[in-house]
C-alpha cells in the first residue's frame, strides 16, 4: 500500500468512456471533525455517568504496555465488574489505550483508529514513553510526547504500570468523565489543524486522507 494508490487515475467505463477517479475525493469523506455541544446539564450528567460506567476499550496493543492490559480480563483483576469491556472494532470503542512507546509507524495507525472511534472518546496513555519518550527519547523512530498528536485524557505512570495502576487509571478516567471533563474529542476537533500539522511533521510517508472517519 503506497501513496500512489490515492493518486488520481484514469479509468475506462463499461461503455468505453474515460474519466478520472480521484480516490481522495471520491472514496473518502472530506468533512472535518466537528465539535459536539454537551446537552443540558442534568441530562448530560446522566449520560456521562452511563459513559463512564460503560468504558469500551479498543483491543489494540500499540506497544509493550499492552501486555499489562490482558491481566485485566483475567479473574485476578477482572475489569469487567467496573463496566470495562474490550471491543474489536474502533467504531464501537470509546477508550484508546496507548500501551507505552509509540513508533511512528504505529502512530499512523493509532491516529486512524482514533479518528474512526465515535465520540465522546478518551485516550489513556501508559508509561513514561508517552509522556517524554522515556528510554526511547532520542530514538529515530518513536515519538516523544503523545499529547502533541492526540488529546490524552489520562496518563498512567510506570514503566510499565502494573494492572492495578491501570485499574486506578480507569477509575480516574471515570471520575473525569462524570465531571464532564472528558472532552478530548472536542479538543481534537477544535485544534484539529494543529494536531494534523504535528502528525504530518513526524509521519513523513503520509499516505492517507486527512480526515479518517
Amino acid at each position: 500500500m503506497s501513496s500512489k494508490d490515492l493518486e488520481k487515475r484514469r479509468v475506462t467505463g463499461p461503455d468505453g468512456e474515460q474519466f478520472d477517479v480521484d480516490p481522495m475525493q471520491d472514496y473518502f469523506c472530506q468533512e472535518r471533525p466537528k465539535e459536539h455541544e454537551p446537552a443540558n446539564k442534568v441530562w448530560e450528567s446522566f449520560l456521562n455517568w452511563a459513559r463512564a460506567e460503560s468504558l469500551w476499550i479498543l483491543g489494540y496493543g500499540t506497544g509493550c504496555g499492552a501486555i499489562e492490559m490482558r491481566p485485566l480480563m483475567t479473574p485476578r483483576f477482572d475489569a469487567y465488574r467496573y463496566g470495562i469491556q474490550w471491543r474489536p472494532t474502533p467504531r464501537q470503542s470509546n477508550v484508546l489505550v496507548i500501551g507505552g512507546y509509540l513508533s511512528v509507524k504505529t502512530l499512523k495507525r493509532v491516529i486512524r483508529s482514533y479518528e474512526q472511534m465515535q465520540g465522546p472518546k478518551y485516550v489513556v496513555a501508559l508509561g513514561s514513553c508517552t509522556i517524554n519518550g522515556g528510554m526511547y527519547w532520542d530514538s529515530y523512530n518513536t515519538i516523544n510526547r503523545l499529547d502533541k498528536y492526540l488529546p490524552v485524557d489520562i496518563y498512567i505512570t510506570g514503566c510499565m504500570p502494573r494492572p492495578e495502576s491501570l485499574l486506578a487509571g480507569f477509575e480516574a478516567l471515570k471520575k473525569l468523565i462524570k465531571e464532564g471533563k472528558g472532552e478530548g474529542q472536542n479538543l481534537y476537533a477544535r485544534n484539529f489543524d494543529e494536531y494534523k500539522a504535528n502528525q504530518k511533521k513526524i509521519i513523513r510517508d503520509w499516505d492517507m486522507p486527512d480526515y479518517n472517519w
Partner: protein, 306 residues
C-alpha cells in the same frame, strides 16, 4: 381473535416486559459466564448502561440508506417475531397479534431481520462484514434444519400450525407437554434452539475472531443501540415460541419468566462448556447429527399420532 386498537397498548406493554426480561437475562448470562471462568463478572444491569451509552454517543456516521435501515430491519424482525407469538396463553390481550399468522409465519419472519441486517452490514462496505454474513447465513440455513423438523413434528403431533392451539393441547399439567409426550422431538428442538441462539458453540458469526466481529463491524452508537435492543428481544421471542410449542406455554407472566429463564439457561450452559465450531464444521454437524436425529424424531412423531 381479531384486531382491536387497545391491543396496541397491551402489545407495547408486553414488548416492554419482554425487553426488560431480555436485558436482565443478558446481564445474568454474562455473569454466569464470568462465574464459570472464576471471574466476578459484570454488574447484572450493565446491559442497560451500555445501551444508554450507545444511544448517547454524540457522533455517528452512515454508509448509506441501506446501512441506516439495516438495524431497523433487524429490530422490526425481532419485535415482529415476538408480536406474532401468543405470549400468554388464554390472555385476550397478551396474545399479541397472533391472529395474523401461525407457526409458519413466525418461522419465516425470523429471517426478516436477518436479511435486513445482512443488507445493512453489506452496505457498510467492510469486507469482514460480508464474510461474517456469508458465514452467518450459511450456518443459519443448516441450523434451521432441526428447527424446521421440530416445528413440523410439533405440527404433525398436534395436527395444527396454530401456536395457540398447540399450547391449548398442552394444558393440564406437565404430562401433557411436548417435552413429555414427545421427548425425542423436544431433543431435536433443543438442538435447534442452540443453533438459533447465536451462542457458543454456534457463535462464530459474532464472536471475536480473525474478522473482528463479522457483520456489525461498522455499526456503532445508535445503530448498535438498536441492535442491542434487538439482542434483548429477539432471543426472548424465540424462547417464548419454544416454550409455547414444547414446554406447555404460559398462562401468566410469572410462569413465562420462569420457563423462559430456564430454557435460555440451556443454551447458556451448553455455551459456557463447549468451544466454538467453525462454520463448515457446524454445517456438517447439523447435517450429520441433527438431521438424522430429526428424521428419527419425525418418524416417531408420525407413529405417535397413528
Amino acid at each position: 381473535m381479531g384486531f382491536e386498537p387497545i391491543k396496541i397498548l397491551y402489545s407495547l406493554l408486553s414488548l416492554f416486559i419482554i425487553f426488560n426480561i431480555g436485558m436482565l437475562i443478558n446481564g445474568i448470562t454474562r455473569k454466569i459466564g464470568a462465574r464459570v471462568g472464576r471471574r466476578h463478572g459484570i454488574r447484572f444491569y450493565q446491559p442497560y448502561i451500555d445501551l444508554v451509552k450507545n444511544y448517547a454517543l454524540r457522533s455517528n456516521i452512515t454508509h448509506g440508506i441501506m446501512f441506516y435501515l439495516g438495524p431497523v430491519f433487524r429490530l422490526t424482525g425481532g419485535i415482529g417475531v415476538y408480536l406474532f407469538v401468543p405470549a400468554i396463553y388464554g390472555s385476550e390481550y397478551f396474545g399479541n397479534f397472533s391472529f395474523a399468522g401461525d407457526l409458519v409465519l413466525i418461522t419465516y419472519f425470523i429471517f426478516f431481520g436477518t436479511l435486513g441486517m445482512a443488507l445493512g452490514a453489506g452496505e457498510g462496505g467492510h469486507p469482514y462484514s460480508a464474510i461474517g454474513i456469508s458465514r452467518g447465513l450459511a450456518q443459519v440455513t443448516a441450523a434451521e434444519i432441526p428447527l424446521v423438523i421440530a416445528f413440523l413434528g410439533a405440527a404433525i403431533q398436534y395436527q395444527s400450525l396454530s401456536v395457540t392451539e398447540m399450547v391449548a393441547l398442552q394444558q393440564g399439567g406437565i404430562q401433557n407437554w411436548t417435552l413429555v409426550t414427545n421427548p425425542l422431538l423436544t431433543a431435536v428442538a433443543l438442538i435447534a434452539y442452540l443453533g438459533t441462539m447465536m451462542r457458543s458453540p454456534f457463535d462464530i458469526v459474532l464472536a471475536p475472531q480473525e474478522i473482528p466481529i463479522g457483520p456489525p463491524t461498522e455499526y456503532h452508537s445508535t445503530f448498535l443501540g438498536v441492535l442491542q435492543t434487538n439482542r434483548a428481544i429477539f432471543p426472548m421471542a424465540k424462547t417464548v415460541l419454544f416454550m409455547n410449542v414444547f414446554f406447555g406455554g404460559a398462562t401468566n407472566w410469572g410462569v413465562l419468566i420462569l420457563k423462559v429463564f430456564l430454557i435460555y439457561m440451556w443454551s447458556v450452559f451448553v455455551g459456557v462448556v463447549f468451544p466454538r465450531f467453525r462454520v463448515d464444521h457446524s454445517i456438517r454437524w447439523f447435517y450429520k447429527y441433527a438431521l438424522p436425529l430429526g428424521l428419527v424424531a419425525l418418524a416417531a412423531t408420525s407413529l405417535l399420532i397413528k
